[in-house]
Protein backbone atom coordinates (compact mmCIF):
# COMPACT_ATOMS: atom_id res chain seq x y z
CA UNK A 1 0.00 0.00 0.00
CA UNK A 2 2.78 2.42 0.98
CA UNK A 3 4.43 1.69 -2.37
CA UNK A 4 1.27 2.64 -4.25
CA UNK A 5 0.76 5.79 -2.20
CA UNK A 6 4.30 6.83 -3.08
CA UNK A 7 3.60 6.00 -6.70
CA UNK A 8 0.61 8.33 -6.78
CA UNK A 9 2.73 11.01 -5.15
CA UNK A 10 5.54 10.50 -7.63
CA UNK A 11 3.13 10.95 -10.49
CA UNK A 12 1.76 14.16 -9.00
CA UNK A 13 5.26 15.50 -8.47
CA UNK A 14 6.32 14.65 -12.02
CA UNK A 15 3.31 16.32 -13.56
CA UNK A 16 3.56 19.34 -11.24
CA UNK A 17 7.14 20.01 -12.26
CA UNK A 18 6.07 19.99 -15.91
CA UNK A 19 3.27 22.43 -15.42
CA UNK A 20 4.13 26.10 -15.43
CA UNK A 21 1.75 27.17 -12.66
CA UNK A 22 2.68 24.40 -10.27
CA UNK A 23 6.37 24.77 -11.01
CA UNK A 24 6.05 28.44 -10.22
CA UNK A 25 4.29 27.64 -6.95
CA UNK A 26 7.13 25.27 -6.08
CA UNK A 27 9.71 28.00 -6.68
CA UNK A 28 7.88 30.71 -4.71
CA UNK A 29 9.35 29.72 -1.30
CA UNK A 30 12.88 30.14 -2.61
CA UNK A 31 11.96 33.57 -3.90
CA UNK A 32 10.54 34.36 -0.46
CA UNK A 33 13.74 33.33 1.25
CA UNK A 34 15.86 35.43 -1.07
CA UNK A 35 13.58 38.43 -0.60
CA UNK A 36 13.73 38.03 3.18
CA UNK A 37 17.50 38.03 2.99
CA UNK A 38 17.48 41.22 0.98
CA UNK A 39 15.24 42.88 3.56
CA UNK A 40 17.38 41.85 6.49
CA UNK A 41 20.89 41.37 5.16
CA UNK A 42 24.05 40.29 6.83
CA UNK A 43 22.69 38.09 9.54
CA UNK A 44 23.44 34.87 7.85
CA UNK A 45 26.02 34.05 10.42
CA UNK A 46 25.94 34.33 14.10
CA UNK A 47 29.72 34.18 14.38
CA UNK A 48 32.27 36.77 13.46
CA UNK A 49 34.06 36.37 10.16
CA UNK A 50 37.66 37.32 9.62
CA UNK A 51 39.73 37.25 6.45
CA UNK A 52 43.52 36.82 6.67
CA UNK A 53 46.47 36.66 4.35
CA UNK A 54 47.42 33.11 3.56
CA UNK A 55 50.81 31.89 4.84
CA UNK A 56 51.62 35.20 6.51
CA UNK A 57 51.22 34.09 10.13
CA UNK A 58 50.02 30.48 10.54
CA UNK A 59 50.02 30.72 14.32
CA UNK A 60 47.69 33.69 14.21
CA UNK A 61 45.40 31.78 11.88
CA UNK A 62 45.22 28.89 14.32
CA UNK A 63 44.50 31.25 17.17
CA UNK A 64 41.74 33.12 15.34
CA UNK A 65 40.14 29.88 14.24
CA UNK A 66 39.29 29.14 17.86
CA UNK A 67 37.05 32.17 18.09
CA UNK A 68 35.87 33.09 14.60
CA UNK A 69 35.27 31.90 11.07
CA UNK A 70 38.51 32.42 9.22
CA UNK A 71 38.90 32.84 5.48
CA UNK A 72 42.35 32.84 3.88
CA UNK A 73 43.17 34.75 0.70
CA UNK A 74 46.43 35.00 -1.21
CA UNK A 75 46.93 38.71 -1.85
CA UNK A 76 46.27 41.95 -0.03
CA UNK A 77 44.11 43.07 -2.96
CA UNK A 78 41.96 39.97 -2.67
CA UNK A 79 41.48 40.58 1.04
CA UNK A 80 40.51 44.20 0.41
CA UNK A 81 38.03 43.17 -2.24
CA UNK A 82 36.51 40.55 0.05
CA UNK A 83 36.03 43.04 2.86
CA UNK A 84 34.20 45.37 0.49
CA UNK A 85 31.45 42.79 -0.05
CA UNK A 86 28.04 43.26 1.53
CA UNK A 87 28.47 41.13 4.65
CA UNK A 88 30.37 41.98 7.79
CA UNK A 89 33.65 40.19 7.24
CA UNK A 90 36.68 41.95 8.68
CA UNK A 91 40.27 41.81 7.46
CA UNK A 92 43.37 41.69 9.65
CA UNK A 93 46.52 42.59 7.68
CA UNK A 94 50.22 42.95 8.60
CA UNK A 95 51.53 46.43 8.64
CA UNK A 96 55.27 45.75 8.39
CA UNK A 97 57.21 44.46 11.45
CA UNK A 98 54.99 42.79 14.08
CA UNK A 99 52.04 45.19 13.88
CA UNK A 100 48.62 44.46 12.44
CA UNK A 101 45.82 46.72 11.30
CA UNK A 102 42.12 46.02 11.09
CA UNK A 103 40.52 46.48 7.69
CA UNK A 104 36.82 47.26 7.71
CA UNK A 105 34.30 48.46 5.23
CA UNK A 106 32.77 50.92 7.68
CA UNK A 107 29.28 49.54 8.06
CA UNK A 108 30.16 46.72 10.41
CA UNK A 109 28.65 46.89 13.88
CA UNK A 110 31.10 48.19 16.48
CA UNK A 111 30.97 45.10 18.61
CA UNK A 112 32.29 42.99 15.76
CA UNK A 113 35.14 45.41 15.15
CA UNK A 114 35.95 45.52 18.86
CA UNK A 115 35.85 41.77 19.05
CA UNK A 116 38.37 41.43 16.23
CA UNK A 117 40.56 44.16 17.77
CA UNK A 118 40.60 42.26 21.04
CA UNK A 119 41.41 38.99 19.37
CA UNK A 120 44.31 40.59 17.50
CA UNK A 121 45.65 42.11 20.68
CA UNK A 122 45.24 38.90 22.70
CA UNK A 123 47.09 37.00 20.01
CA UNK A 124 49.83 39.62 19.94
CA UNK A 125 50.40 39.27 23.67
CA UNK A 126 50.04 35.51 23.55
CA UNK A 127 46.94 35.37 25.72
CA UNK A 128 44.97 32.14 25.35
CA UNK A 129 41.78 31.04 27.02
CA UNK A 130 43.79 29.29 29.69
CA UNK A 131 45.43 32.58 30.72
CA UNK A 132 42.25 34.46 31.16
CA UNK A 133 39.75 34.37 33.91
CA UNK A 134 37.27 35.96 31.61
CA UNK A 135 35.69 33.81 28.93
CA UNK A 136 35.72 34.89 25.36
CA UNK A 137 32.13 34.36 24.45
CA UNK A 138 30.75 33.79 21.01
CA UNK A 139 29.20 36.95 19.69
CA UNK A 140 26.04 35.21 18.62
CA UNK A 141 23.47 37.86 17.93
CA UNK A 142 19.78 37.80 18.51
CA UNK A 143 17.73 37.26 15.41
CA UNK A 144 15.98 40.46 14.38
CA UNK A 145 12.26 40.14 15.20
CA UNK A 146 11.22 41.25 11.73
CA UNK A 147 13.24 38.50 10.11
CA UNK A 148 11.78 35.94 12.46
CA UNK A 149 8.29 37.17 11.65
CA UNK A 150 8.88 36.98 7.93
CA UNK A 151 10.41 33.52 8.02
CA UNK A 152 7.65 32.30 10.29
CA UNK A 153 4.96 33.66 7.98
CA UNK A 154 6.70 32.28 4.90
CA UNK A 155 6.87 28.83 6.49
CA UNK A 156 3.13 28.74 7.13
CA UNK A 157 2.52 30.22 3.71
CA UNK A 158 4.27 27.27 2.08
CA UNK A 159 1.70 24.92 3.60
CA UNK A 160 -0.98 26.87 1.74
CA UNK A 161 1.07 26.49 -1.43
CA UNK A 162 1.05 22.73 -0.83
CA UNK A 163 -2.73 22.82 -0.57
CA UNK A 164 -2.87 24.82 -3.77
CA UNK A 165 -0.93 22.17 -5.67
CA UNK A 166 -3.24 19.47 -4.30
CA UNK A 167 -6.23 21.46 -5.56
CA UNK A 168 -4.63 21.76 -8.99
CA UNK A 169 -3.84 18.05 -9.14
CA UNK A 170 -7.42 17.17 -8.22
CA UNK A 171 -8.73 19.47 -10.93
CA UNK A 172 -6.40 17.67 -13.34
CA UNK A 173 -7.81 14.28 -12.33
CA UNK A 174 -11.33 15.61 -12.72
CA UNK A 175 -10.84 17.12 -16.16
CA UNK A 176 -9.08 14.00 -17.42
CA UNK A 177 -11.69 11.88 -15.64
CA UNK A 178 -8.93 9.60 -14.39
CA UNK A 179 -10.20 9.04 -10.86
CA UNK A 180 -12.49 6.29 -12.15
CA UNK A 181 -9.48 4.54 -13.67
CA UNK A 182 -7.66 4.65 -10.33
CA UNK A 183 -10.76 3.25 -8.63
CA UNK A 184 -10.56 0.30 -11.04
CA UNK A 185 -7.08 -0.58 -9.85
CA UNK A 186 -6.30 -2.28 -6.54
CA UNK A 187 -5.74 1.09 -4.85
CA UNK A 188 -8.20 1.81 -2.06
CA UNK A 189 -10.09 5.09 -1.80
CA UNK A 190 -8.10 5.97 1.30
CA UNK A 191 -4.87 5.04 -0.48
CA UNK A 192 -5.74 7.43 -3.26
CA UNK A 193 -6.49 10.24 -0.81
CA UNK A 194 -3.26 9.53 1.05
CA UNK A 195 -1.27 9.59 -2.17
CA UNK A 196 -2.81 12.89 -3.17
CA UNK A 197 -2.12 14.34 0.29
CA UNK A 198 1.61 13.67 0.28
CA UNK A 199 2.23 16.64 -1.98
CA UNK A 200 0.73 18.82 0.74
CA UNK A 201 3.32 17.59 3.23
CA UNK A 202 6.23 17.43 0.83
CA UNK A 203 5.93 20.99 -0.47
CA UNK A 204 5.85 22.72 2.94
CA UNK A 205 8.54 20.50 4.45
CA UNK A 206 11.01 20.96 1.61
CA UNK A 207 10.15 24.64 1.15
CA UNK A 208 10.38 25.43 4.83
CA UNK A 209 13.77 23.79 5.11
CA UNK A 210 14.95 25.70 2.06
CA UNK A 211 13.70 28.92 3.60
CA UNK A 212 15.36 28.12 6.93
CA UNK A 213 18.67 27.30 5.30
CA UNK A 214 18.71 30.23 2.92
CA UNK A 215 17.76 32.72 5.62
CA UNK A 216 20.39 31.35 7.95
CA UNK A 217 18.35 29.58 10.63
CA UNK A 218 20.77 26.70 10.75
CA UNK A 219 21.17 26.14 14.45
CA UNK A 220 17.56 25.51 15.33
CA UNK A 221 16.04 22.20 16.35
CA UNK A 222 14.98 20.68 13.04
CA UNK A 223 12.79 18.04 14.65
CA UNK A 224 10.78 20.77 16.31
CA UNK A 225 10.53 22.60 13.01
CA UNK A 226 9.42 19.41 11.26
CA UNK A 227 6.69 18.76 13.79
CA UNK A 228 5.30 22.29 13.48
CA UNK A 229 5.40 22.22 9.68
CA UNK A 230 3.72 18.85 9.30
CA UNK A 231 0.89 19.68 11.67
CA UNK A 232 0.31 23.06 10.02
CA UNK A 233 0.02 21.42 6.61
CA UNK A 234 -3.01 19.29 7.50
CA UNK A 235 -5.48 22.14 7.33
CA UNK A 236 -4.11 23.33 3.98
CA UNK A 237 -4.32 19.79 2.61
CA UNK A 238 -7.99 19.55 3.60
CA UNK A 239 -8.83 22.90 2.05
CA UNK A 240 -6.82 21.91 -1.03
CA UNK A 241 -9.00 18.83 -1.48
CA UNK A 242 -12.21 20.78 -1.03
CA UNK A 243 -11.18 23.48 -3.49
CA UNK A 244 -10.08 20.85 -6.00
CA UNK A 245 -13.41 19.12 -5.69
CA UNK A 246 -15.48 22.30 -5.86
CA UNK A 247 -13.75 23.84 -8.87
CA UNK A 248 -13.41 22.70 -12.44
CA UNK A 249 -11.01 25.40 -13.40
CA UNK A 250 -7.35 25.50 -12.45
CA UNK A 251 -7.24 29.23 -11.84
CA UNK A 252 -10.37 29.24 -9.68
CA UNK A 253 -9.09 26.36 -7.60
CA UNK A 254 -5.75 28.04 -6.94
CA UNK A 255 -7.43 31.39 -6.48
CA UNK A 256 -9.87 30.17 -3.87
CA UNK A 257 -6.98 28.96 -1.74
CA UNK A 258 -6.49 32.66 -1.10
CA UNK A 259 -9.32 32.24 1.41
CA UNK A 260 -6.68 30.92 3.76
CA UNK A 261 -4.56 34.05 3.56
CA UNK A 262 -7.09 36.01 5.60
CA UNK A 263 -6.95 33.86 8.75
CA UNK A 264 -3.20 33.47 8.26
CA UNK A 265 -2.35 37.15 8.08
CA UNK A 266 -5.16 38.02 10.46
CA UNK A 267 -3.90 35.85 13.25
CA UNK A 268 -0.30 36.89 12.75
CA UNK A 269 -1.26 40.55 12.91
CA UNK A 270 -3.40 39.76 15.95
CA UNK A 271 -0.63 37.85 17.67
CA UNK A 272 1.86 40.63 17.08
CA UNK A 273 -0.32 43.68 17.63
CA UNK A 274 -3.29 42.96 19.87
CA UNK A 275 -3.28 42.94 23.64
CA UNK A 276 -3.38 39.67 25.54
CA UNK A 277 -7.04 39.98 26.39
CA UNK A 278 -7.96 39.83 22.70
CA UNK A 279 -5.81 36.85 21.84
CA UNK A 280 -8.64 34.40 22.47
CA UNK A 281 -10.25 35.68 19.26
CA UNK A 282 -7.64 33.75 17.30
CA UNK A 283 -7.62 30.52 19.27
CA UNK A 284 -9.71 28.71 16.67
CA UNK A 285 -7.23 29.37 13.89
CA UNK A 286 -4.63 26.61 13.67
CA UNK A 287 -2.15 28.99 12.03
CA UNK A 288 -2.18 31.05 15.22
CA UNK A 289 -0.77 28.16 17.22
CA UNK A 290 1.63 27.21 14.47
CA UNK A 291 2.88 30.78 14.46
CA UNK A 292 3.50 30.69 18.20
CA UNK A 293 5.23 27.31 17.92
CA UNK A 294 7.35 28.41 14.99
CA UNK A 295 8.39 31.47 16.93
CA UNK A 296 9.85 29.30 19.65
CA UNK A 297 11.52 27.10 17.05
CA UNK A 298 13.11 30.07 15.29
CA UNK A 299 14.42 31.63 18.48
CA UNK A 300 15.59 28.21 19.55
CA UNK A 301 13.90 28.63 22.89
CA UNK A 302 11.16 26.02 22.78
CA UNK A 303 11.25 22.84 24.84
CA UNK A 304 9.84 19.59 23.52
CA UNK A 305 6.90 20.14 25.79
CA UNK A 306 6.17 23.57 24.29
CA UNK A 307 6.42 22.27 20.77
CA UNK A 308 4.28 19.23 21.47
CA UNK A 309 1.71 21.47 23.08
CA UNK A 310 1.41 23.79 20.08
CA UNK A 311 1.64 21.00 17.51
CA UNK A 312 -0.99 19.12 19.53
CA UNK A 313 -3.43 22.03 19.50
CA UNK A 314 -2.97 22.42 15.73
CA UNK A 315 -3.49 18.70 15.28
CA UNK A 316 -6.62 18.80 17.43
CA UNK A 317 -8.25 21.62 15.47
CA UNK A 318 -7.26 19.97 12.20
CA UNK A 319 -8.84 16.68 13.25
CA UNK A 320 -12.11 18.43 13.94
CA UNK A 321 -12.00 20.08 10.52
CA UNK A 322 -11.10 16.71 9.00
CA UNK A 323 -14.09 15.02 10.59
CA UNK A 324 -16.35 17.69 9.16
CA UNK A 325 -14.85 17.62 5.66
CA UNK A 326 -13.93 13.94 5.24
CA UNK A 327 -17.35 12.78 4.02
CA UNK A 328 -17.44 15.59 1.47
CA UNK A 329 -13.97 14.75 0.26
CA UNK A 330 -14.75 11.05 -0.07
CA UNK A 331 -17.96 11.75 -1.93
CA UNK A 332 -16.36 14.36 -4.14
CA UNK A 333 -13.77 11.90 -5.33
CA UNK A 334 -16.21 9.18 -6.38
Amino acid sequence: MIKKILLLFQRDLKVSVRNFITLYILVVPVIFAVVINIFSPGINDTTVEIVLLEGENPEQVEYFKQFANVTLLETIEAVEERVRKRDHIIGVLPDGSQEYFILTQGNEPDYIVDYVKNLTAFDHYGIGTEDSTAEIVDYGRDIPPLKKLMVNTAMIFTSILGGMIIALNIVEEKTDNTISAIHLSPVSRMGFIAGKSLMGVFVPVVSAFLILTITGFRNINYFHAFLMIVTSSIISILIGFIEGINNDDVMNAAGNMKLLFLPLFGCIAGEELLADKWQFLFYWIPFYWTYKGNDLVLSNSGSWLDIIKYAGIVLGISIIVFLVLAPRIRKGLE
Binding site: T178, A181, S185
Partner: protein, 287 residues
Amino acid sequence: MKKMIKVENLYHSYNNDDNYAVNDVSFEIRKGEIFGFLGPSGAGKSTTQNILVGLLQLQRGEVEVAGYDIKHIKNKMFNKIGMSFEQSNVYGKMTGLENLEFYRKLFDVETREPMELIRMVGLDGKENIKAGEYSKGMKHRLTFARSMINNPEIWFLDEPTTGLDPAIAANIKDIIRQENEKGVTVFLTTHNMHIADELCDRVAFIVDGKIRLIDSPKKLKLEYGEKLVDVEYFREGELVKDSFSTVAGGGKDRLVDVIRNHEIQTMHTKEATLEEIFISVTGRGLV
Protein backbone atom coordinates in the same frame (compact mmCIF):
# COMPACT_ATOMS: atom_id res chain seq x y z
CA MET B 1 -19.38 -24.09 -16.63
CA LYS B 2 -17.98 -21.64 -14.13
CA LYS B 3 -19.95 -18.41 -13.75
CA MET B 4 -17.80 -15.29 -13.91
CA ILE B 5 -20.62 -12.83 -13.39
CA LYS B 6 -23.93 -13.35 -11.62
CA VAL B 7 -26.53 -10.59 -11.47
CA GLU B 8 -29.89 -11.02 -9.78
CA ASN B 9 -32.72 -8.51 -9.63
CA LEU B 10 -30.50 -5.50 -10.01
CA TYR B 11 -32.11 -2.07 -9.69
CA HIS B 12 -30.54 1.35 -9.83
CA SER B 13 -32.04 4.80 -9.51
CA TYR B 14 -29.81 7.86 -9.75
CA ASN B 15 -32.17 9.96 -7.69
CA ASN B 16 -33.15 7.22 -5.27
CA ASP B 17 -36.73 7.33 -6.50
CA ASP B 18 -38.94 5.06 -8.61
CA ASN B 19 -37.32 6.22 -11.79
CA TYR B 20 -35.07 3.25 -12.45
CA ALA B 21 -32.17 3.49 -14.90
CA VAL B 22 -31.72 -0.25 -14.32
CA ASN B 23 -34.89 -2.11 -13.57
CA ASP B 24 -34.90 -5.70 -12.31
CA VAL B 25 -32.00 -6.94 -14.42
CA SER B 26 -30.77 -10.54 -14.05
CA PHE B 27 -28.22 -12.46 -16.09
CA GLU B 28 -25.20 -14.71 -15.82
CA ILE B 29 -21.97 -14.80 -17.78
CA ARG B 30 -19.97 -17.99 -18.18
CA LYS B 31 -16.21 -18.23 -18.18
CA GLY B 32 -14.70 -17.57 -21.59
CA GLU B 33 -17.88 -16.09 -23.02
CA ILE B 34 -18.33 -12.82 -24.89
CA PHE B 35 -21.56 -11.44 -23.56
CA GLY B 36 -23.10 -8.49 -25.39
CA PHE B 37 -25.25 -5.93 -23.69
CA LEU B 38 -27.19 -4.26 -26.50
CA GLY B 39 -29.48 -1.33 -26.39
CA PRO B 40 -30.04 2.22 -27.54
CA SER B 41 -28.29 4.98 -25.70
CA GLY B 42 -29.84 5.70 -22.35
CA ALA B 43 -30.96 2.09 -21.97
CA GLY B 44 -28.96 1.56 -18.79
CA LYS B 45 -25.97 -0.34 -20.18
CA SER B 46 -23.24 1.82 -18.71
CA THR B 47 -25.09 2.10 -15.42
CA THR B 48 -25.20 -1.69 -15.13
CA GLN B 49 -21.54 -2.00 -16.03
CA ASN B 50 -20.51 0.70 -13.55
CA ILE B 51 -22.31 -1.14 -10.76
CA LEU B 52 -20.58 -4.38 -11.72
CA VAL B 53 -17.13 -2.79 -11.43
CA GLY B 54 -17.94 -0.90 -8.25
CA LEU B 55 -17.89 2.62 -9.68
CA LEU B 56 -21.52 2.99 -8.70
CA GLN B 57 -22.80 1.91 -5.33
CA LEU B 58 -24.98 -1.20 -5.44
CA GLN B 59 -28.46 -0.16 -4.31
CA ARG B 60 -30.56 -3.26 -4.68
CA GLY B 61 -29.95 -6.75 -6.02
CA GLU B 62 -27.22 -9.36 -5.89
CA VAL B 63 -24.04 -9.05 -7.92
CA GLU B 64 -21.08 -11.39 -7.99
CA VAL B 65 -18.04 -10.69 -10.14
CA ALA B 66 -15.09 -13.11 -10.41
CA GLY B 67 -16.29 -14.72 -7.20
CA TYR B 68 -16.43 -11.43 -5.28
CA ASP B 69 -19.64 -10.11 -3.78
CA ILE B 70 -19.96 -6.53 -4.98
CA LYS B 71 -21.59 -5.51 -1.71
CA HIS B 72 -18.23 -5.88 -0.02
CA ILE B 73 -15.73 -5.02 -2.70
CA LYS B 74 -12.17 -6.10 -2.07
CA ASN B 75 -9.42 -4.14 -3.75
CA LYS B 76 -7.86 -7.42 -4.79
CA MET B 77 -10.77 -7.95 -7.17
CA PHE B 78 -9.39 -5.25 -9.43
CA ASN B 79 -6.37 -7.38 -10.21
CA LYS B 80 -8.75 -9.67 -12.06
CA ILE B 81 -10.80 -7.20 -14.03
CA GLY B 82 -10.11 -4.60 -16.67
CA MET B 83 -12.37 -1.93 -18.05
CA SER B 84 -12.28 0.25 -21.11
CA PHE B 85 -14.38 3.33 -20.59
CA GLU B 86 -16.96 4.82 -22.91
CA GLN B 87 -15.29 8.21 -22.48
CA SER B 88 -11.55 7.91 -22.71
CA ASN B 89 -9.84 8.87 -19.48
CA VAL B 90 -6.08 9.16 -19.55
CA TYR B 91 -3.68 11.70 -18.05
CA GLY B 92 -3.35 14.45 -20.64
CA LYS B 93 -0.11 15.76 -19.17
CA MET B 94 1.63 12.40 -19.45
CA THR B 95 2.67 10.61 -22.62
CA GLY B 96 0.88 7.52 -23.82
CA LEU B 97 3.71 5.34 -22.59
CA GLU B 98 3.92 7.08 -19.20
CA ASN B 99 0.20 6.57 -18.74
CA LEU B 100 0.57 2.83 -19.12
CA GLU B 101 3.82 2.62 -17.12
CA PHE B 102 2.17 4.42 -14.24
CA TYR B 103 -1.01 2.37 -14.34
CA ARG B 104 0.68 -1.02 -14.50
CA LYS B 105 2.53 -0.36 -11.24
CA LEU B 106 -0.76 -0.03 -9.38
CA PHE B 107 -1.46 -3.75 -9.81
CA ASP B 108 -0.23 -6.65 -7.72
CA VAL B 109 -0.28 -9.16 -10.55
CA GLU B 110 1.91 -9.70 -13.56
CA THR B 111 1.29 -6.96 -16.09
CA ARG B 112 1.86 -6.63 -19.80
CA GLU B 113 4.57 -4.65 -21.53
CA PRO B 114 3.18 -1.17 -22.28
CA MET B 115 4.95 -1.03 -25.64
CA GLU B 116 3.38 -4.31 -26.69
CA LEU B 117 -0.07 -2.90 -25.99
CA ILE B 118 0.74 0.37 -27.70
CA ARG B 119 1.74 -1.54 -30.82
CA MET B 120 -1.41 -3.66 -30.65
CA VAL B 121 -3.65 -0.61 -30.85
CA GLY B 122 -1.51 1.07 -33.48
CA LEU B 123 -0.18 3.91 -31.35
CA ASP B 124 3.49 3.05 -31.84
CA GLY B 125 5.47 6.08 -32.87
CA LYS B 126 3.09 8.19 -30.78
CA GLU B 127 4.03 6.73 -27.39
CA ASN B 128 6.18 9.70 -26.38
CA ILE B 129 3.58 12.31 -27.22
CA LYS B 130 1.47 13.70 -24.37
CA ALA B 131 -1.95 12.09 -24.37
CA GLY B 132 -3.46 15.57 -24.16
CA GLU B 133 -2.32 16.10 -27.73
CA TYR B 134 -3.88 12.85 -28.97
CA SER B 135 -7.00 12.87 -31.12
CA LYS B 136 -10.20 11.56 -29.60
CA GLY B 137 -9.77 8.20 -31.31
CA MET B 138 -6.18 7.87 -30.15
CA LYS B 139 -7.15 8.59 -26.55
CA HIS B 140 -9.86 5.99 -26.86
CA ARG B 141 -7.34 3.42 -28.08
CA LEU B 142 -5.00 4.24 -25.23
CA THR B 143 -7.84 3.75 -22.74
CA PHE B 144 -8.63 0.46 -24.45
CA ALA B 145 -4.99 -0.66 -24.31
CA ARG B 146 -4.74 0.26 -20.64
CA SER B 147 -7.70 -1.98 -19.80
CA MET B 148 -5.66 -5.04 -20.80
CA ILE B 149 -2.55 -4.21 -18.81
CA ASN B 150 -3.24 -6.50 -15.84
CA ASN B 151 -4.19 -9.54 -17.95
CA PRO B 152 -7.79 -9.34 -16.73
CA GLU B 153 -9.90 -12.47 -16.38
CA ILE B 154 -13.01 -10.41 -16.95
CA TRP B 155 -12.83 -7.61 -19.42
CA PHE B 156 -15.49 -4.90 -19.37
CA LEU B 157 -15.76 -2.96 -22.59
CA ASP B 158 -18.08 0.02 -22.72
CA GLU B 159 -18.69 0.98 -26.36
CA PRO B 160 -15.16 -0.03 -27.41
CA THR B 161 -15.61 0.87 -31.08
CA THR B 162 -17.97 3.82 -30.92
CA GLY B 163 -16.57 6.88 -32.65
CA LEU B 164 -13.61 5.05 -34.20
CA ASP B 165 -13.09 4.91 -37.94
CA PRO B 166 -13.97 1.53 -39.50
CA ALA B 167 -10.40 0.28 -40.00
CA ILE B 168 -9.50 0.93 -36.39
CA ALA B 169 -12.80 -0.48 -35.17
CA ALA B 170 -12.00 -3.66 -37.08
CA ASN B 171 -8.60 -3.81 -35.41
CA ILE B 172 -10.20 -3.42 -31.97
CA LYS B 173 -12.65 -6.17 -32.84
CA ASP B 174 -9.78 -8.50 -33.77
CA ILE B 175 -8.02 -7.79 -30.48
CA ILE B 176 -11.18 -8.59 -28.53
CA ARG B 177 -11.51 -11.88 -30.36
CA GLN B 178 -7.83 -12.77 -29.82
CA GLU B 179 -8.00 -12.05 -26.11
CA ASN B 180 -11.19 -14.04 -25.82
CA GLU B 181 -9.51 -17.00 -27.51
CA LYS B 182 -6.93 -16.88 -24.71
CA GLY B 183 -9.79 -17.44 -22.27
CA VAL B 184 -10.74 -13.91 -21.24
CA THR B 185 -14.41 -13.44 -20.38
CA VAL B 186 -15.81 -10.32 -22.05
CA PHE B 187 -18.72 -8.13 -21.01
CA LEU B 188 -19.34 -5.95 -24.05
CA THR B 189 -21.65 -2.98 -24.02
CA THR B 190 -22.60 -1.53 -27.36
CA HIS B 191 -25.29 -0.11 -29.55
CA ASN B 192 -23.43 -1.37 -32.62
CA MET B 193 -25.23 -4.51 -33.78
CA HIS B 194 -22.56 -5.53 -36.28
CA ILE B 195 -19.91 -5.75 -33.60
CA ALA B 196 -22.27 -7.67 -31.36
CA ASP B 197 -23.30 -9.98 -34.15
CA GLU B 198 -19.72 -10.83 -35.05
CA LEU B 199 -18.28 -11.15 -31.57
CA CYS B 200 -20.89 -12.21 -29.06
CA ASP B 201 -21.67 -15.71 -27.92
CA ARG B 202 -24.82 -14.40 -26.33
CA VAL B 203 -26.55 -11.04 -26.30
CA ALA B 204 -29.00 -9.33 -23.99
CA PHE B 205 -31.40 -6.76 -25.44
CA ILE B 206 -31.91 -3.95 -22.98
CA VAL B 207 -34.34 -1.07 -23.30
CA ASP B 208 -35.39 1.43 -20.63
CA GLY B 209 -33.44 -0.40 -17.97
CA LYS B 210 -35.08 -3.75 -18.63
CA ILE B 211 -33.71 -6.85 -20.31
CA ARG B 212 -36.14 -8.03 -22.98
CA LEU B 213 -34.35 -11.13 -24.13
CA ILE B 214 -31.10 -13.07 -23.76
CA ASP B 215 -29.97 -15.49 -26.44
CA SER B 216 -27.21 -16.30 -28.90
CA PRO B 217 -27.24 -14.31 -32.16
CA LYS B 218 -27.30 -17.61 -34.03
CA LYS B 219 -30.42 -18.86 -32.33
CA LEU B 220 -32.09 -15.50 -32.70
CA LYS B 221 -31.51 -15.57 -36.42
CA LEU B 222 -32.82 -19.09 -36.71
CA GLU B 223 -35.89 -18.12 -34.83
CA TYR B 224 -36.53 -14.79 -36.49
CA GLY B 225 -34.82 -15.26 -39.84
CA GLU B 226 -36.97 -15.63 -42.92
CA LYS B 227 -39.89 -14.67 -40.78
CA LEU B 228 -39.28 -11.04 -41.47
CA VAL B 229 -41.27 -9.25 -44.12
CA ASP B 230 -40.03 -6.08 -45.81
CA VAL B 231 -42.85 -4.00 -47.17
CA GLU B 232 -42.88 -0.80 -49.24
CA TYR B 233 -46.29 0.84 -49.26
CA PHE B 234 -47.99 4.19 -49.76
CA ARG B 235 -49.18 6.09 -46.75
CA GLU B 236 -50.87 9.42 -47.34
CA GLY B 237 -49.32 9.55 -50.79
CA GLU B 238 -45.78 8.85 -49.59
CA LEU B 239 -43.74 5.71 -50.09
CA VAL B 240 -42.84 4.14 -46.73
CA LYS B 241 -40.53 1.22 -45.92
CA ASP B 242 -41.15 -1.04 -42.95
CA SER B 243 -40.20 -4.48 -41.61
CA PHE B 244 -42.57 -6.81 -39.81
CA SER B 245 -41.75 -9.89 -37.85
CA THR B 246 -44.32 -12.59 -38.09
CA VAL B 247 -43.07 -14.01 -34.82
CA ALA B 248 -42.76 -11.33 -32.21
CA GLY B 249 -43.98 -7.96 -31.04
CA GLY B 250 -47.37 -7.88 -32.67
CA GLY B 251 -45.75 -7.64 -36.11
CA LYS B 252 -48.33 -9.93 -37.63
CA ASP B 253 -51.22 -7.70 -36.67
CA ARG B 254 -49.47 -4.63 -37.97
CA LEU B 255 -48.65 -6.38 -41.25
CA VAL B 256 -52.29 -7.38 -41.73
CA ASP B 257 -53.30 -3.85 -40.96
CA VAL B 258 -50.93 -2.42 -43.60
CA ILE B 259 -52.04 -4.90 -46.26
CA ARG B 260 -55.68 -4.15 -45.57
CA ASN B 261 -55.46 -0.38 -45.52
CA HIS B 262 -52.63 0.65 -47.86
CA GLU B 263 -51.48 0.21 -51.42
CA ILE B 264 -48.47 -2.15 -51.43
CA GLN B 265 -45.50 -1.42 -53.72
CA THR B 266 -43.18 -4.36 -52.93
CA MET B 267 -43.16 -7.11 -50.35
CA HIS B 268 -40.66 -9.90 -49.64
CA THR B 269 -39.32 -12.03 -46.82
CA LYS B 270 -35.66 -12.08 -45.85
CA GLU B 271 -33.13 -13.13 -43.21
CA ALA B 272 -33.14 -10.70 -40.34
CA THR B 273 -30.09 -8.86 -39.14
CA LEU B 274 -29.54 -8.61 -35.40
CA GLU B 275 -30.57 -4.99 -35.62
CA GLU B 276 -33.87 -5.84 -37.24
CA ILE B 277 -34.48 -8.54 -34.69
CA PHE B 278 -33.80 -6.00 -31.98
CA ILE B 279 -36.30 -3.62 -33.50
CA SER B 280 -38.96 -6.22 -33.92
CA VAL B 281 -38.50 -7.59 -30.40
CA THR B 282 -38.31 -4.29 -28.58
CA GLY B 283 -40.26 -2.06 -30.93
CA ARG B 284 -37.33 0.37 -30.66
CA GLY B 285 -34.47 1.49 -32.85
CA LEU B 286 -30.89 1.49 -31.70
CA VAL B 287 -30.04 5.15 -31.70
